[in-house]
Symmetry: D4
Subunit: 221 residues, 8 copies
């Protein structure tokens, strides 16, 4: 007998300082609704990623306070955390319109935790001037998250230009050898730029939590 | 015509605050010697990774000041940077004796840049008590680097326990499906722990530079 | 000329003590109906896995006694075997809501054969306390089946804690490098925990039959 | 500073009932010697797998009581456990002369723990009669370990013939598509025989520990 | 400018003695219709594989003489060749109901060329008796085509039992490591049975043409 | 805040002499419409590849001047460049009807830039006569683009026959081991013909731009 | 206890009409010697493939009648079978000097069984004239074995030209994407030529046994 | 019977204008010597790639006129072609000292055919200034060959800066995910720069022949 389908890790917030993201893609509408209810009852902010418009609309009919973030394809229920005015900013780079969902998931994940963010779109290595024109913004960031599909060279070029922490997010958009994002992932891991780190393909939430760890670790000391 | 075989990136230090590591594995003794000479003439600290004992001995006959770090399989020429007393410490975990070279490369890379380090050996997920017994040391670190071969689960378990930045280094030791380290790498990327980041297989130097970016970014602000 | 489309292995029960599971996913409604008819005529319990709700509803209109197990996505026709009161229990762990179908398929497969089972949900390595809090239940089991997607570290951690047979079932839920379950599979095979065994991705039925072999082998001697 | 290179899991024996196997392949002679010393001082049986003849000879000069098992390529130091007279036997099948090292590692691992074993050699699916002629021995076993390289079909055929637990060990001997053992591994995982479980390629020790878990679990109840 | 979309290889019949199969899966209804028209005008038998029921119905409205073979998912237009009474028979084995489409494509391909065939269904290695019970039929064949998914062990076992040419056809039915048929393919290539040959996954037509080459080569001499 | 979703590389034309192709497959109708508007306002020719009929029809309702090229599945808005009468011709080979979309994308990409083109269809290596019959046309080309799926041998055979630049385009049409085009890609890269170059799978636009670089580089000098 | 290390399949000859090839690569000198002794005592022809010159020389000192075939890297002991004067000939094509060992292994395997053979060297698709100049010899063969590395296109081109059985043998010679022979293997399987069959990489013996099955099957009827 | 081991393609020069490169890596000293003799007797320039120093020294003792090019690891026998004074220059970029052998093979291959070349070393994307400082040289080239290992981003960045033909050569130097060069290869194929073409890993000769095709095609018209 299963007494209850989902025992959530409601202690994660106090242990790690992170809201647990519920991965919505493979869950049914009913499963997500049950999870939202648990969070709501526990008085915690609920954060569901990869929610289709269809599921979101049905969920918002039940949970009137829920908010759907269409670019990021995420749904939230509850109040985000206050912005920490003295903490640094995370700049998020995106190589193209197709990477927008991943960059937006990263941005939303950080804003929910009260971190300041800025997205820079259409920054790619095949048109270097756009990257070089934004160096000021990049060097003023505390952490840079760089999303890129295809060959994934953006974090490599960036990591050779600035000394800040750079987190690469490979994006699954592409075709042929770049389909699925594995080539971008391996390109980032194989990078000749020192000190670049990488998260799973399309994992905007993961990159945001890595940036959060860096920024909070700083403010804790 | 090639005027000179290796034009080194001697500006990297001022641009990124990082010593350029020379990857010694596929270079001949003569190529490394020429590079050491360039660094020496430029008055910069030279740092060569993956140097076999044989090559190291021949190089030390030419460069009397060179030092060979046998556990890390690295050779240095020139003075390391002073330790910054107010900067945080990086703790480096290693799953087994076989991961020692990678963990030692990370440690040496950090110490050369004046960062305090501590290595904890034989911390593995098949014997959780050793991990749990060291939680104090882990939570006192500013950054944790976790090296692991085989299934690579160590950073995942660790990332669920502490809020600090955790950098996973997959190690190529293993056999069958874990040979070459790809399984450890993918296991870390697929981790259910939020905010874990990863570098290339066996890339102790890369993990160290990522930790350096985090720590220096903090002290710069 | 084909005289009959499916010659079932109706002797499997006497030879191996196992009900043959019919894999329903790639079979048409008509093919499954024909197979159910054969089993029914032979007076044997029929067990079809991976049956969509649509197919199940059509089949239950024809076979009124058929029962659909929606969590496990399985359909049965005929009476399960009696529970053996003196035989041990199999505990089935599941890392998350998304693994529920696989865990339920394992549980149903065992219950059909008269084996006692218990499912423990949302036991994952990123929140170790939930695992450690259930150690009593785990050490009282005769066999443990651990289902896990993503990096698949659950059976590894478990195998280091308890001496019982542990069977890992990699689950295909995930994205990027964990999509399809190969990373979880390889992580389990590469495990540093001694004596862990593994079945094919999503193969809840297979893990159950392996547990059955272990338990029956015991009761036969 | 590293106070000691290897902190062994000397509690494994009491926790799991298993001797910790030291994987000797990637360790230096000096590293293995240090580990043997630790075990010896702790009064525990030491078991090192994948030890080359050269390393073994040097080690036996230092540790006079050490014993080298050349077929299994393993080295032991200390007394094996007594045979439990009432416990069942494990039969180990090997497809060919080339699989002998893996089968022997499994056998030795079991004998060290006091388990009775029998090896049957040159049992392959391309000559079925040899398998069918040994059915008596196979059905008298409590657990069967089947080692196979190339296409790895042996455990599949076996699992369809007998009701006992069958553990498949893919072997890395082969060439072309079977080089490295991945094809044998996947063939065993994809098997149409129900309830077959699998361990990592060439992992004779792992298969033995899985058999030990099964047999001991039985005798403990 | 493209004068005509498809220039068919209408000489193939005279050069190789084989009807060119048109692969229908990725072609639109309009493209197939145009090709059928070309064959029809040239007075040749047209043979289209992998045609969905939908496309087939639309095509049969235009080409009244066209015939749809639903098990094989093929459409033909024109008269098959006469059976050669003195030529040998090809026996086609299929491991399960799911392999039926591939086995039927092979059978139809041969019958169109006037070759005698017999299909034996549900012959698998997990129930050896069904294979052994049909040895008479198998040894009376001139060529045997063995279709198998999952681990693909059927042709290996067969090749060790009979001296005839055995052509293995891996089938894409399966899940986890057997999804897509690559494991079955590699298992057949890695086979320990001597003289087994293999064609592409699901390539029933290709296996049939290989059998045709063998049989016709015989009757030509 | 994101001020504008897509900052296009409108300077590419002056820098590289190439119209930027907008990859339409993963973009929504709204995203493409916004991009078309930007190009239109900048007075530049807009070129969108991989546009489904559905999206194209909706876009043409908004942009009346837009033109849909159904074989190439591309949409253009604005006037193509004039043909350069003295520049050479690019001949594009296609192995089968299924490769037509890729070959047509290459042809359209070149014609938009004012380059003369000719497509030769159904030229394959399994019917060599069709290739040999077209040698005159092939040797009169300045560059040859050869599209091929399955085993991808066409560019290899061609490269051994003519001295011109040959650009291979692997095509994703196929099944089993050729599904997705990786086998064709690797076959072209592994080619024993000297001086063959390759682009990504299905990348007709990329092959066209490579041909444009060759031809324009010539006319610039 | 192991009573005897290798129980050979000495009945294979009567059952299948094939001499069992002993794969010598991974066997020690001592293991091969023991096997040769068994065959010798049984009065059967022994055939060992992939024997290095060093091992061969040591074996010939013990077995004076043994013969080493250096091009094929095989060692035989005992008398080959008589040539059947009325049976057909097998023509073996090799793409380059580097494929010679594989082609020679195939040739020797056939000659040992009394089959007539002819080798044609340096027949490649990048120089089609050499293939076309030998069409007479090829069409007079009963079976053609085509060995090819790199892109492996030779059997594809051949299969489009002649109606005989064509067996492709991928060869592991190459570099980059063709290293190890997988690209040649997949190219042959993906071939657009109908009725081509394939064996494992470098498996000259396997191709020979497939040809033997074809020829003997013919002469038996 | 084999009348002669190697029938060289001595007509390649007249047909394609290219010297046939003999791949020396897997050939024995004796095989290379025989080939050199054939070329010498035919009065043609012989060009052997991937020749180790050891083999080269033995060959130069026999062929006194042979010349060994140690950086490129190639051996030539006979006179190179005259430089065409009006033809353009090929610039060859190399990312690091480790890529030197591949870049040198490309350079030598071109110089042998009378093409002007220039090598630029240590041009990498992690230090963009070195690339940007050489833009003048790059835009004056007729063709640029860019060799790069690791993530292989160099040709991508380059292709976005200049309009000339750019040929990417992935290099096998690297470790972890970049070992063997596949990541660099896929990164180049997936490039977001339009019109980049790619050759096999380490194939300096192939890139040179592609450049030759481009330049000669131009001068022929």
């Amino acid at each position: 007998m299963i007494s209850k389908e989902a025992r959530l890790d409601l202690d994660r917030l106090s242990r790690l300082g992170m809201v647990e993201a519920i991965w919505g893609e493979h869950k049914t509408f009913e499963q997500i609704a049950e999870i939202l209810k648990s969070f709501s009852e526990a008085g915690q902010l609920a954060f569901v990623t990869r929610v289709s418009v269809d599921k979101a609309e049905k969920l918002m009919q039940i949970f009137e306070q829920a908010e759907y973030h269409s670019k990021a394809k995420c749904l939230t229920l509850g109040r985000p955390f206050e912005v920490h005015p003295t903490e640094g900013k995370v700049v998020i780079l995106s190589g193209g319109t197709s990477d927008l969902a991943v960059a937006s998931e990263a941005e939303l994940s950080l804003r929910l935790h009260g971190i300041k963010t800025e997205i820079l779109l259409d920054i790619g290595v095949a048109g270097l001037h756009r990257l070089l024109n934004n160096l000021d913004k990049l060097t003023s960031a505390e952490v840079v998250i760089a999303c890129a599909g295809m060959e994934g060279a953006l974090p490599t070029v960036l990591g050779g230009l600035i000394p800040q922490p750079v987190i690469g997010v490979p994006v699954s958009v592409g075709y042929g050898v770049s389909a699925g994002g594995i080539t971008a992932l391996k390109g980032m891991l194989a990078s000749c730029s020192p000190g670049l780190t990488v998260v799973n393909i399309d994992n905007g939430y993961g990159a945001a939590m890595a940036a959060l760890r860096i920024i909070r670790s700083r403010s804790n000391k």
